[in-house]
Symmetry: C3
Subunit: 429 residues, 3 copies
């Protein structure tokens, strides 16, 4: 390596690309000392057997590597693993999340349709919904360990396959999925593990118990979205997309189950998705009304601006869990954790997740949100009443209408009509 470094210094970086002869033989002696596990794993890998050396993936600019600027991403794997790359890119795993990896425009073999993940046609401006407000609020360090560790899957095969191993046992084990698909927001691994599917796998192995891969990556496809009928936030797809997706999933279930049974079970999930969503919507309505009446504590205008929407109330998928009022953070738990667990628990046939960790929490959230709303309303009345008397209710009424108009809950015509009514009411007094 010393010799190599000397040559580097002499010839300069611009000549580096001509070092096509740089090969594993030159890297290994040093790295056997410095990163022994990496070398050991590579030597036991299919890559080693096929003569794929260090430089194939890492390139040959050692200075860049040392500066941490030569991260190996999907571009390195794509030329040899075309089919996996393409199906991965077009699946949910491949979607751009703007999570610190920036634009994917430099990817080899980029599909033009991918741009639509983040941009309107012919626009370089990223769509706000593909940026993540929660990501934008993180420190650089938490963004790396808390966000990118998982979301790097969009651009890094090593997310699942690990860096130097090629043993397919790793990616065929549900534990490989567990690294990301766990936790309060989407405990798919936990709910599979204690479902009949997971417990049969634990006891009798693959012959009897299906894994994540059995249903979501049949025949080893990298299109993990196959058979999914809703967005990652749990919004149902329109029928023209959902129907063929559902048929795909039933055909997967049918390797073991009667199609009628599979269909009934999945339909149950659909019904529960709708029921759960209506609980979430009831909560959202309560919070919107509090905002209309200036009763949130603190109001959006009195707190740090939302990274995408500024000093407006944000309750959609960009809802934050910091710098909000207490009642919004209750909604966050409801939407991100309990709604997700109810639905995913049902589709994965896990009663404790569907009911206790999901549905019961969802209903308790609604109690908590109603209780907080009642407190805020009373506190608002206590403050308002002695100051402005009867006239106050007219004033509040007009402000609420104004806010409803602004957030698009009523049309201009409806606004004018309802305003008229409030004023007539006032004149009667």
């Amino acid at each position: 390596m010393k010799t190599f470094n000397t040559i580097l210094a002499v010839t300069g970086a611009s000549l580096l690309l001509s070092f096509s002869s740089l090969s594993a033989e030159e890297c290994i002696p040093c790295h056997r000392e410095k990163t022994p596990a990496a070398v050991r794993q590579w030597e036991n890998s299919a890559h080693f057997k096929a003569g794929v050396g260090c430089e194939k993936c890492h390139g040959i600019d050692h200075e860049k590597m040392k500066r941490g600027e030569a991260r190996v991403d999907m571009k390195a794997c794509a030329p040899c693993h075309k089919k996996a790359f393409e199906t991965h890119r077009s699946s949910r795993h491949g979607m751009g999340l703007h999570s610190g990896w920036g634009c994917t425009r430099n990817l080899a073999n980029r599909n033009q349709k991918e741009c639509a993940f983040c941009h309107d046609k012919d626009s370089a401006e990223p769509l706000s919904q593909v940026q993540c407000a929660r990501f934008l609020k993180q420190s650089a360090e938490m963004a790396e360990v808390g966000c990118n560790y998982c979301h790097s899957v969009e651009n890094s095969c090593a997310s699942c396959h690990t860096n130097h191993n090629t043993d397919l046992k790793i990616v065929r084990d549900p534990a490989s999925c567990a690294k990301c698909h766990m936790g309060p927001d989407h405990p798919q691994w936990e709910m599979w593990q204690t479902s009949l599917h997971g417990t049969l796998y634990g006891t009798l192995g693959l012959a009897t118990g299906p894994t994540c891969q059995t249903c979501h990556m049949p025949s080893g496809t990298h299109d993990v979205s196959r058979g999914i009928t809703m967005s990652s936030g749990g919004a149902a797809y329109p029928p023209e997309i959902a129907k063929p997706q559902r048929e795909q999933m039933i055909s997967i279930c049918s390797q073991c189950h009667a199609p009628a049974f599979a269909s009934r079970e999945l339909n149950r999930g659909d019904a529960i998705q709708k029921q759960s969503l209506s609980i979430v919507k009831e909560a959202e309505k309560i919070i919107l009304d509090l905002d209309d009446r200036n009763l949130l504590d603190p109001m959006p205008e009195n707190r740090p601006p939302h990274p995408l929407s500024g000093n407006k109330l944000v309750l959609d998928s960009q809802l934050l869990y910091e710098d909000t009022s207490h009642i919004e953070r209750l909604l966050f738990k409801m939407k991100k954790y309990d709604y997700a667990r109810t639905i995913k628990g049902t589709y994965h046939q896990n009663p404790a997740y569907a009911h206790w960790y999901g549905n019961a929490e969802l209903k308790m959230d609604l109690i908590d949100i109603k209780a907080e709303a009642s407190r805020l309303r009373k506190a608002g009345q206590a403050q308002a009443a002695p100051v402005k008397g009867v006239g106050n209710s007219t004033e509040t009424g007009l402000k609420v209408l104004q806010k409803k108009l602004e957030r698009g809950a009523i049309s201009e015509t409806e606004y004018q009509e309802q305003k008229q009514k409030v004023l007539e009411e006032f004149l009667k007094k």
Copy 2:
């Protein structure tokens, strides 16, 4: 199968029972295509080896099967598995929970005493305490996946044994129990898994680490209630029942431990059960008092009626987690989750469940309940004070007494005495 269907159509349903010749040979050709896993599992089962074909369990009414009306329950298994059936029925697993499976009167080999689970002597009216108010509040879909998936154990051997497998490995693995005995309300599997018992099993297997089955199903008995000294809600049994049950459990522990050690450990559980219950009772008393003073928000009369008790406050085992006030939902968490985890964590020798997931949460619940009570009392005073002045406290005092009388907390005599005192106090002013 086509031929068979034709015959069915010709001969009519009333003649079906004479088709004793309908056998696996007729089902398998189609079902090898339509439900391949079921066929494969049956072909590898003890049933297959013993010549037990499809019709033995499923009957011969194929139309009924297709309509989903020929569910295989314990009636199908009982004739051959008598002892397992009987011990199961008389254990906690066999108790009627009215969870959508209806009356068990049609069961073969029904024990007359079973009726007493749900009915007073000579009454067809189900006892309210064997109906579950939480079940009655569910949607049909959540009732199925969230309740019946586990509670079907009362009527379905397949809950544990699965549908077509007969491999005893499945039911001898703690994972088999995990499917239901997990989650926030009774994480027995989780607490066993990380207890010394569970970790030794994980490392050295059955020879050193006992499983659920080792202690709760010794020698393969299906009487899973053996050695249990309290109801499933955690109410201690009277000594005449508890004492022999305890002796049974100590004799099970004694296969590995000195009886004195086992006894000491279990007695510790009893002490902690009593301590934990007194925390729960303190919380209940606070809520009852708020109800007496009309301070719950909302009060029971202003919300959807309880399915069993209407517009009354319900804090017993029928406590709901929806359509209640915030403080009642805190009690729900306390009773259903934290009380249960404290006790079960202790008996299963798991410090994190006994202390952090149980006892500490129980005590934090009490803080939260006291804080909410303080808020409700202050809000009540704020509303009441400016309106009625001093007279108000007399009025409230009389209302509280009335409510106490109604819920049986004081006798008619006590009511009259205390009413007299309040009035005398008023006259003094």
Copy 3:
């Protein structure tokens, strides 16, 4: 055994030590009946093979054993296992926690420096910070199962090795650590299990995936604190201690990873520790201010005294989770659970623990604490305002200064200066 007991009675306890001939042969016949598993485990142990009999660990006073007073602790193991004993004693595992095991002064081979865990030089008075206020609040039974079950590790090799087994498989399995290192306050086992390290171990075993022991007990050392740069409460050590510790950990990581990579990952943990601590400090400041203004509900003077500090507000590592106000119990969750999970989740490379179970909860805690503070302030104003008018703010201002002085937040000089300002403000009115 009967003969033995007779001899005991005849010769008296003072002669017992001369019974060097009491040996396993005398114990086994009875105990094969009474504690069969213990005997079986011993017979399969390295102790049995080396001729180490019952009396070597248990002594020979059978009456004392029967009274439960002959607990086998580290003194029994130390003479033969000197190195393990010494490294264990000097590690975090060996620290005195006063958790019911009392003073360690009677330990064989006691290191003089150990006294400093609990005592100032030449003082017999235990330092309050080595007593645990939470332990002092427990019932005797919960103290045993909830505290000592794990904290007995300071004095009992059996905590990890179990009582009669000597199979090193037990202590080389992460499950052995899981018994204590799990749960809401420090889920190290859970976060390892679903990290890349844990999932590779689960799939490919030790050759690819490191365990707890790989990094924290390299080469089988019992010094489990090696490479740790902060106290068990998460307070960073000063650089002169932290720096060599960090170098030790990097040298452990370097068995698999490039030192630069390991260093970067660990530095990220340091940054997140600082960021997380500042969130905790913000919350503490809010609560201290409420206490200064007498707005906690209830105030420390109106509740059962803290076991170490009496009727003062305690927010440090002795913070309780019972008999406090709601806002302090929110801080408890923040510090003990969410702060710990954020940091440990980061160092153990688990995104769900670092972010969702840790960082997001920490930020939601802060929202909840701010909301509760807002409620308490409003309730305080509602009570105070109509009574005292403008003068009231001067009075409150002076009280707050007094309290700040008392808790050392301002110096006497600062107190006098600020007091002067408040009074001048009042005179202007």
